[in-house]
């Protein structure tokens, strides 16, 4: 990732009097480039950048920079002068109000960007929705102001508005903090049947999302067993002074796939191929909890077998036996 995202090299060969290009125009355009990258730059920083820039190699007066800025203004760049302290020239800054080469979004682009915000706002944790909202705000600087979609009554503010926070999103945010803080929790929760209220003390580890519902992955301190509690079932939380003593260890699940599934299977995050035959594939997956992967692998039916760990194989066997008990055997039916 680092290689792919490495910034574009800003250091041209040191040619201060290159006849094959216009150095004065280059300086103007470099000022624009720096302003595009930073949006706001002080006069002093612009001057320093120009001095350090290899194509110039000489000092640059404030008047010259002002001429560059004026050229850019004539070209249509919206640059505003700002001065925090009217008495000191060092506080002069230039702000580029929008991207000079804006991104043009279609109506469909805007709709989908907005739809994502709505979905994230309703279902996921505060962190993700805030990050996406920030990203869109950053993007708005690069958008064309004359986009039809915004002039049709839908303002930018509306575009970036987060839908009303849902209780579940808030709750997920709170529990994410509990997990980060690693203090033990005393929980009151409803059992699966909603028939009684139970209490337990847990070491909180992580939040898991399954089919858009949030669960707390924790270790029950009393029984020393892993617990996965739906957040919707948790009625009250009390943070205890003691901290988590153990670290969660990922479970390595090994499974094989057969037939057509083996030839068309696409790996999930955290999965590795251990063996690839013509119609058989062995995959290793590292997971924090096994319920989700068990449910996913069971849907593949006869085309999938969990090879390890043995405890998970036993659990699968038990689940199938339960189902068969209800369904009956083929002879009976």
């Amino acid at each position: 990732m680092r290689n792919l995202l490495s910034p574009v090299e800003d250091k041209p060969p040191a040619l201060s009097h290159d006849k094959t290009l216009s150095t004065s125009a280059l300086r103007v355009l470099m000022v624009l480039k720096w302003l595009t990258e930073n949006q706001v730059m002080s006069l002093q920083n612009l001057r320093n950048n120009l001095i350090e820039y290899a194509y110039l190699n000489r000092t640059c007066s404030d008047e010259t920079i002002l001429k560059y800025i004026n050229t850019l203004k004539v070209l249509g760049c919206k640059i505003h002068r700002e001065q925090k302290d009217p008495l000191t020239d060092s506080s002069v800054c230039y702000r580029l109000e929008s991207n000079p080469f804006p991104l043009v979004l279609s109506h469909a682009d805007v709709l989908i960007a907005q739809r994502l915000l709505t979905i994230l706002g309703q279902h996921t944790d505060q962190g993700l929705v805030s990050a996406y909202q920030q990203f869109l705000k950053g993007l708005s600087w690069s958008l064309s102001n004359e986009q039809a979609v915004f002039s049709e009554g839908a303002s930018c503010d509306h575009f970036f508005e987060i839908p009303d926070s849902q209780h579940s999103r808030k709750q997920a945010g709170e529990f994410q903090q509990y997990c980060q803080q690693s203090f033990n929790l005393e929980l009151q929760y409803q059992d699966e049947n909603n028939s009684q209220i139970l209490t337990c003390q847990v070491e909180p580890y992580d939040l898991i999302e399954r089919k858009h519902q949030w669960y707390l992955l924790a270790l029950d301190i009393l029984s020393n067993r892993q617990k996965i509690l739906p957040l919707a079932q948790i009625l009250s939380v009390n943070q205890l002074p003691s901290k988590n003593k153990r670290k969660i260890v990922p479970v390595h699940v090994l499974f094989s796939l057969y037939g057509r599934l083996a030839s068309s299977y696409r790996l999930y995050p955290g999965e590795k191929i251990l063996f690839k035959g013509r119609q058989e594939l062995h995959i290793k997956s590292s997971v924090l909890e096994t319920d989700s992967i068990m449910q996913r692998l069971l849907k593949y039916g006869v085309n999938c077998q969990i090879l390890a760990p043995q405890s998970l194989r036993q659990l699968v066997k038990k689940r199938i036996e339960q189902k068969m008990l209800f369904l009956g055997t083929r002879q009976e039916s």
């Binding site: 990732m1 792919l4 574009v8 090299e9 094959t20 290009l21 216009s22 004065s24 125009a25 280059l26 103007v28 355009l29 470099m30 624009l32 480039k33 990258e37 560059y68 004026n70 050229t71 004539v74 070209l75 080469f101 991104l103 682009d109 709709l111 989908i112 994502l116 979905i119 994230l120 279902h123 993700l128 993007l139 049947n193 089919k211 858009h212 919707a232 079932q233 068309s264 696409r266 999930y268 995050p269 449910q295 996913r296 069971l298 849907k299 593949y300 039916g301 006869v302 390890a308 043995q310 036993q314 699968v316 066997k317 036996e321 189902k323 068969m324 209800f326 369904l327 083929r330 039916s333």
Partner: protein, 334 residues
Amino acid sequence: MTEASISKSLNSTAYRIYRILEWLVEKPLTLTEINLKFKADPLIGKVVSSDSILLYMNTLKAIGCEIQRPSPKNSFHYMLLYHPFGMTLTGQHIQLLIKVKSYVQTMLGHTEMLNLDCFLKKLLNFSTIKQKDSLQSELFEKSRSLDYGKFPHHIAMLENCCKSGETLLIMAYESPLKGREVFHFLPELLFYEQGVLYIRGEREEFDLTSNLRVDRIADLKVVKQVKLLRTLQDRKKELTQVEIQLFCLKKENHSHTALRAEHGVYHESSEWINTADEGYYHINLAVRDFFYLKQFLLSTPYVYKIVRPTFFLADLQMSLETVKAYYEKSSESC
């Protein structure tokens, strides 16, 4: 400000170079086209020599632009491949986009997903990142989805066929096991699942509905075979009535819509009767495609009874027996 006073406060070469960049962002231009635009611009108003244009292009390259030189291959156009005035995307931004795409792709329909892909590609193309292709591949790979940008013709054609319901196709399909197959196909529904776009429809030689991956379609052509079209249309209407009793522990918290959403059971014609006292949902379904129903029943943590049809019950029992046999052996012998 008059044009004369503007000219005095202006770096005219920078002005011209900026304008070239603006024009090249829109579309590739020949030398003559650039000069025509120069002549039309009130602050330039004249043509310039090819040496000057070369100087302008070199200056653009010096600020980081990548420009393809005119050649017979590009019909003698200057083509802008990259400019450094785009949006800065950091590694964190990319991870965010991957996360968002992975998250929402289970919740959006196929049109929305394709729109999302277009939007994300547009963002990547607009960024200052140079290795856009690799980054695009990473975005799709890490979000476990396929890029359908290469198949607009097939997708548009299938969308039209699904709308009309009256178009029979002859399709060449790259099957992972059987290689290339050619068959008649009546498209019914395009749907997006787990990052993959499928077309559901009736295949001439199969009794049951087929779900085919759109990226594996090698070729499509409309054919006129009225008799076969009618046969497949009639077959589409042959629904099997299924009755299931789903024993669900959570009585109060689970509305049937929540349960359906949770387990991905999608049947428009389904009817869920909550028999809370007896602890199960009685589900009536009219089914043509048993594939997803079977997947749901195999993976659900709840137990159930299949009231009818018996062939589906037998099929499910057989699958469970086979799977159970896998787990009778110890893991060492696997």
